[in-house]
Symmetry: none
Subunit: 174 residues, 4 copies
Amino acid sequence: MTSGRPRDEGVRRNILTATQALVLEKGYAAVTTTEIAARAGAGKQTIYRWWPGKGALVLDAFSSWVEQAPRTARRRPSLSSTLVEFCRAATHAAPVLRALMAEAQFDPALHARLLAQLVRPRGDELRACLTDRRAADRELVVNVLSGLVWQRLMLNEPLDGRFVRFALRVVGRI
Amino acid sequence: MTSGRPRDEGVRRNILTATQALVLEKGYAAVTTTEIAARAGAGKQTIYRWWPGKGALVLDAFSSWVEQAPRTARRRPSLSSTLVEFCRAATHAAPVLRALMAEAQFDPALHARLLAQLVRPRGDELRACLTDRRAADRELVVNVLSGLVWQRLMLNEPLDGRFVRFALRVVGRI
Amino acid sequence: MTSGRPRDEGVRRNILTATQALVLEKGYAAVTTTEIAARAGAGKQTIYRWWPGKGALVLDAFSSWVEQAPRTARRRPSLSSTLVEFCRAATHAAPVLRALMAEAQFDPALHARLLAQLVRPRGDELRACLTDRRAADRELVVNVLSGLVWQRLMLNEPLDGRFVRFALRVVGRI
Amino acid sequence: MTSGRPRDEGVRRNILTATQALVLEKGYAAVTTTEIAARAGAGKQTIYRWWPGKGALVLDAFSSWVEQAPRTARRRPSLSSTLVEFCRAATHAAPVLRALMAEAQFDPALHARLLAQLVRPRGDELRACLTDRRAADRELVVNVLSGLVWQRLMLNEPLDGRFVRFALRVVGRI
DNA sequence: ACATAATCGAGACGGTACGTCAGGTCTTCCC
DNA sequence: GGGAAGACCTGACGTACCGTCTCGATTATGT
């Protein structure tokens, strides 16, 4: 039996939208929950009712945004195209990704969420491009690529075409 | 011509020691500059006179600690032994390294310091083990290894023997 | 040994002045500590460092204000003139006095402060006008007068000339 | 024409009972409407439908409780017995009475209710004991007694036998 | 010797975000 | 329409930490 007033989906969307907009405008660190609430026309309590804090909120706001790939999986996508798309999206969202990964280092719960919503799905995507490899090799390649990308992000270096070529060259050697 | 009271080296050491102790006890995030000053028997101003903030202070406190290997470089050290030592030290200091890299994402100045004092020196160390490779390959290997290690740290996975073997296997394939 | 930066008296006065002004402008209940801090150009913490809360702060701001009687005690002041002056001051400050006494009902510490800083001094003043009475009668009269005044305040009835005459008639009968 | 479901008297009694219990357990200030609703097995809206707020609710809950004296008025009751009964009841309910009078200072509507339901009825009771006095004297005595009692309450001093004797001595002198 | 100048411990200060709490309203379904 | 449940907006609260500042005391150099 579900009694009481149901959660207002419009409010939820307003909050996520406001979060996205504000984080893009001013950067993760400069945004406050109070400000998000104000922009969303919501109460602060409503935010804290549904998210444990700024980190989780921003993660939600951007994980839906990052996953905008329609995934019209015809056949197995190529590794290179996947990687290109991967880097394109990551470049756009780079400041947010860096901030989220950083924040996650101070917040175990956020760390788990980040893994489940961002890190693992992207790894799985890569893995799906490697069905022609032996299982052990697959893990190896996925780890190396993921490591290269995240390191690049954290060191604030560009995820551009040069990087993609570099990464593919590495993979080719394995 | 330098007049005025000279810097007290004992105070500097007290502060670094107190920082180390407190960060190990309670973790980076839970420590405050005020607390460090109190423990060191120092004034807050003395800290801010010599360091720009908590991040740089902790970096100093631990970069001297991480690099305590005397580096009795006879000849070129082996890659595997270097990597093992590397991981051993990183495992001990893992929570601090994670926190520093995280904090650096919000603080460009700290980011630069971190690169200069921790990331690059370790990369150079690795590079020095690869003098038998072609220059292009060297960069490739250093990048991959560094990426694997930092990713491992940020994802809070162990830098144990299994990881070392895994990393060496990757390098062997390149 | 008094070390450290000494308390800034100017800040203290700014806070008290801002408190007074705001309470007179908008009434006790509508004023917040945040607002007082902003108006005084002070930090909220500075307020909480020196006062336990809004109540004590307002009490301080107005107890110095209520006691503006120069007390050029030549001889024993007459009861009637004291009572007139008393009511004049209380009429002005009535909303604040009501609010303070009300707040004190929820806050034992404020209650004690209120007694010590406002209630008892005023009682002593009245007592000083009754040196020609027997001690027991003195207490009786002081209690009755004080009771009449506070009741009047709490019931939000005017402390005007009519009330003074009424009160004096009562005392005359005792 | 009154259509729709009629008010549920059982719910009303549950709410008043829960209010009484909670206020006696934890004190007026520590009780919230949400809590009262929960204890009464009622919805918050049901409370706000019938009472303007916590103050009025508590007033109702206790005014029926304070006036539980059956008032078997044979003839004119004596002043002293009335005062004794008065103080006995007030002593029991002292914390609630203090809180209500305090709250009323911030809430004009509650102030009016408090006067009508508690202050004036008690005054009338006293007045009824003084039919042998001249009208002007009656008001005087009622005011003095009422003032003494409320002052005593607000200053958190006991309304015990000693106080009653004191009050009667005052009245005797008038 | 004595002024100059910088360091040091202590702690007050302005500022800003935090997460919590209570009040009172609104929205659902059920009777 | 009454009622239970509970989401919602609003706005104050008191705390925490940051980095700066202002004291008095100390310790070096330069005259």
